[in-house]
Amino acid sequence: MGEVIVITSGKGGVGKTTASANIGTGLAMLGKSVVMIDADIGLRNLDVVLGLENRIVYDLIDVIEGNCRIKQAFIKDKRYSNLFLLPAAQTKDKTAVSPEQMLKLCNSLREEYDFIIIDCPAGIEQGFNNATAGADRAIVVTTPEVSAVRDADRIIGLLESKDLKNPTLILNRIRQDMVKRGDMMAIEDVTEILAIDILGVVPEDEAIVISSNKGEPAVTDDSSRAGKAFRNITKRITGEEVPIMDLSADRGLLSKMKKLLRFGS
């Protein structure tokens, strides 16, 4: 029996789609069978981030309207044969699907796959209701900004009212140097407000922008720090205990040089 996980945030642009792509790919790297569903109908992105947009023939709406069988709409990932994407329609809008239909879809997929990852659209309206309808658990993504944390708090409240208790948190795009200077909220500041378990902390990393543009999730990149953070997150999802990575660790040539110079003086 598989698990349906919805990745949500309330606010847009905090990294839901990036997190979905990396978690889905990361779970597939661990050998799990994974289906990723893009629930952001009308503003689909997950296919682009995964580099699969040119293979789309059928989409979520075609499946729900019965124009094709579920498996016809699945796009098999380029790298992992146990990873599938069910893309959203681009020319429709959120009202084309109802929560009942999503629930039915999730329940039929649950029987065959280990994980179903749903990329939720921003907002708290119908798109959110659709994406969360079939979920067993929720992962809330936020960045260390007051506005994102405020929206995350609202989302956690809504999830709890939908019986999705105990959502976990991914704190994305954290910059340790700014935290140190006191210019950015620290992990503790965020968890104090939201009071939910933290699933992972992802540092700001240029590799994310590069990998999104290339259509290859950072989780596959051994040299990327954000990739490592996502690998840890996927391990935690499967139940393994992995400590939160040390964000103050040296990064890049520049900081190493600085350290060397300081040592010399």
Binding site: G42, N54, V57, Q90, T91
Partner: protein
């Protein structure tokens, strides 16, 4: 649902699309059934009839017309057996829509999420961005860059073509053939996206420069 006989209402009259694969004896049974179902749709109007999809002998055509005469009050103004066996199945470009009124023009670009779906040919005066779609039963001509999806001959006509000033679609479909240009391939082979036309040749989509 039996689709061996399909009626389509057009500006100029009624188009009847016939399956070319089943035997005529079966087709005529389906035809009669469809005519009975469509009786009220026909009314006692006056219309022209075009048979498409199958080559009919004079005798076969007469049998089909007799059914319409007998079962409905339709007043047939003229019959156009405009079926050219080559036009539906033959590959290569050069398909010209028989109905000169069936091309629509769209001025302006199609952005992500916008789509034109039309039972004829489509001319877009502007770009089609990634995420935009043009789906046509006939040809597609884009006076701009095609960066989104284009599907020409979506009802199965393999003679349809897609042309654009810059032909670099996310995905390209003609009739039942789907293709795309892999990004890596385009980069490695330094493909220059010049005014081109895409059509079916040898069971594959073939792209040729348009000059």
């Amino acid at each position: 649902m039996n689709n061996s006989v399909v009626f389509k209402g057009r500006k100029r009259g009624i188009v009847i699309v016939l399956d070319k694969d089943i035997p005529f004896s079966e087709l005529i049974v389906d035809f009669k059934q469809k005519v009975l179902q469509a009786k009220s749709f026909f009314g006692d109007s006056k219309a022209s009839i075009t048979f498409q999809g199958r080559a009919l002998s004079t005798d076969e055509e007469k049998q089909l017309l007799d059914i319409i005469f007998k079962e409905t009050g339709l007043n047939i103004s003229f019959v156009d057996n405009g079926y050219d066996y080559k036009s539906l199945d033959s590959e290569g470009y050069g398909y010209i829509d028989p109905d000169e009124n069936s091309t629509i023009y769209h001025k302006g670009s199609l952005r992500s999420g916008q789509a034109i779906v039309y039972a004829g040919s489509v001319v877009v005066i502007g770009d089609v961005n990634p995420g935009g779609e043009v789906i046509a039963e006939g040809n597609i001509i884009i006076l701009g860059s095609l960066k989104g999806l284009a599907h020409a001959g979506c009802a199965g006509n393999k003679g349809c073509f897609v042309s654009a000033y810059q032909l670099r679609p996310t995905q390209l479909r003609i009739a039942n053939i789907i293709t795309y240009i892999p990004k890596e391939f385009a980069k490695k082979n330094k493909i220059r996206f010049e005014p081109s036309v895409a059509y079916i040749k040898g069971g594959q989509i073939y792209i040729a420069p348009l000059v």
